[in-house]
């Protein structure tokens, strides 16, 4: 193990707290949620102890301090995304909340009966169900960018659908949570804009593995969760281009999302607070700052090459296991691999790996339509983080071989 990875591992207390028989848990489910570095954990606990007051409300010093931490989280996100202004960063409870917010605001303003919303076949349920609900409410229609056998988008079909002229919004994953392929989002954005459609990208996985510059990508909206990006759970982001965000009506009412309120009528606060009704999860949101500092610190060649080495090792070793099938083999991969093994059920594999102290995901992964498209009722997913090592990958392969032997 090289010194850089060793140093990263030293920042993650889970390695000590989850040890069984002196051996740390091999955590390979980072796509579900990341483990937390000590900086995030200690900020969270010290803010709870020392800077706890409701934000954007009171005038006393402690409230101002809490508001500063909350707003520092927002600024860290702005900087990470290279957004033009802090006002473009709406803090939410996670990607799902961000997408529901978008569906209920953009939907109310711009989507009417007969309009179309375009998503891909590779979406997480969180980027599918809110649009289905919107279609039901509005009479709009959902269309799909096909995903081919290698897991790649059929952009020609996307262009064909867009050219019919009814698509108002495209909403697609930057990186699929099942296939781990970095999708050609810049091409999609350019294409959608040519046809007059706005674009939202579900960045739940993308923000973790890619350097996201929303102005370079050109998307109108980008959402992600803090907890997959080393921040505390209950923090999330909806980035929206300011001129577009300003045209959207509020969704939830109450709290500091107002300008003035009378018994008859309310005028609303400017963006982004207009969309932050109620007391936000300000402690979690504030952890976005140390989390993003950590992200910035690990965007270095040593970490990239470790990820690459682990990913290509796993692909070649998995391909050597009889009956093992990998999904999402086309395109550029992030360190996320989903597979099935003939004659061994995904939940049995995950159960036995757990007995060997390895945490992997199994099942439908909130992507039932995509997994069904591959003719499966579930898969096993291995997703790596900056704290994983090649030694752990070797142990996974050894354990996987043992597991398959037991099950067949």
């Amino acid at each position: 193990m090289n010194a850089v990875i060793e140093n990263i591992r030293a920042q993650f207390p889970y390695l000590e707290s989850t040890a069984r028989d002196g051996r740390p848990l091999v955590y390979m489910d980072s796509a579900a949620t990341s483990q937390k570095p000590r900086s995030v954990i200690s900020c969270m606990s010290s803010w709870l102890a020392e800077a706890n007051a409701n934000v954007h409300r009171a005038i006393y010093g402690l409230a101002a301090e809490a508001t500063d931490h909350y707003e520092a989280g927002r600024e860290a996100v702005r900087s990470l995304l290279n957004a033009a202004s802090k006002d473009e960063i709406v803090l939410t409870s996670g990607t799902t909340a961000s997408i529901n917010l978008l569906a209920n605001t953009f939907g109310a303003k711009y989507i009417k009966a007969g309009d179309e919303i375009l998503v891909s076949e590779g979406e997480h349920h969180s980027n599918l169900v809110p649009w289905q609900m919107l279609c039901e409410r509005s009479g709009a229609r959902l269309r799909f960018i096909p995903v081919d056998g290698n897991g790649e988008w059929d952009l020609r079909e996307a262009e064909r659908i867009l050219s019919e002229g009814m698509v108002r919004l495209v909403s697609a994953a930057h990186i699929s949570n099942v296939l781990g392929i970095v999708n050609p989002v810049e091409d999609l954005v350019a294409m959608a804009h040519r046809h007059g459609a706005a674009v939202h990208l579900d960045g739940a996985q993308g923000i973790v593995h890619e350097e996201v510059d929303v102005r370079r990508i050109g998307c109108d909206f980008y959402s992600f969760s803090g907890h997959k990006l080393y921040a505390a759970t209950g923090s999330g982001v909806l980035y929206g281009r300011k001129d577009l965000l300003e045209t959207l009506p509020p969704w939830m009412g109450g709290g500091e999302m107002v300008d003035t309120v009378t018994f008859q009528k309310t005028t609303y606060a400017p963006v982004p607070l207009r969309f932050e009704a109620g007391t936000p999860n300000f402690i979690s949101a504030a952890t976005l700052k140390p989390a993003i500092d950590f992200v910035t610190s690990i965007r270095i060649p040593e970490v990239r090459s470790n990820e690459k080495e682990m990913t290509s090792y796993l692909i070649s070793e998995m391909n050597a296991i009889d009956g093992l099938r990998l999904y999402g083999t086309g395109g550029r991969k992030c360190p996320l691999l989903s597979f099935t093994v003939d004659g061994a059920h995904h939940s049995d594999i995950a159960t036995l790996l757990d007995k060997m102290n390895i945490a992997v995901r199994s099942g439908l992964m909130c992507s039932e339509p995509l997994i069904g498209k591959f003719g499966r009722t579930g898969m096993v997913r291995v997703s790596l983080g900056p704290y994983n090592t090649l030694e752990e990958c070797e142990y996974l392969i050894k354990s996987l071989r043992r597991t398959v032997k037991m099950l067949r």
Partner: protein, 141 residues
């Protein structure tokens, strides 16, 4: 005298206590799973499918002479092994016996994590289904 639900549960707990490590325990479960009679494909009715996020379970319940008989199947072999333990405990019992029983023996043999209430865990849903069927039949009688 006929063995009670508790007797059979204790018997299973004793059997499992003989295993030194998890490997042996799971190998035994896998063996049990493989030997559980498979339900005919034509009897795997959609309305008897308990669909879970992790695994799928089919359960057929029959009432004969006031007693319930179960046949079940799963696509996951460890789940099937645990199903065979449940069937061993509950087959041929009256609905009242089933409603009065608890399943803590699963915990006592160290398989608790298989019963975690994750979304639509097939096995947990199956135990609920057994109780629901027992409740329905106890009312019909």
């Amino acid at each position: 005298m006929e063995a009670t639900v508790q007797d059979v549960q204790q018997e299973i707990v004793d059997e499992f206590s003989a295993f030194d490590d998890w490997m042996d325990k799971y190998e035994y479960l896998i063996e049990l799973g493989k030997s559980l009679p498979v339900i005919d494909e034509k009897n795997k009715q959609e309305d008897r499918l308990i669909k879970g996020c992790q695994s799928r379970v089919w359960l057929n319940t029959e009432l004969r002479d006031g007693r319930l008989y179960f046949t079940a199947d799963s696509d996951a072999i460890i789940t099937k092994g645990i199903i065979s333990l449940l069937i061993r405990v509950y087959n041929g019992r009256t609905p009242e016996e089933i409603l009065a029983a608890d399943n803590s023996f699963i915990d006592r043999i160290g398989l608790k994590e298989n019963l975690s209430p994750t979304r639509a865990n097939g096995l947990v849903s199956m135990m609920e289904q057994i109780r629901e069927d027992a409740l329905r039949y106890s009312k019909e009688q």
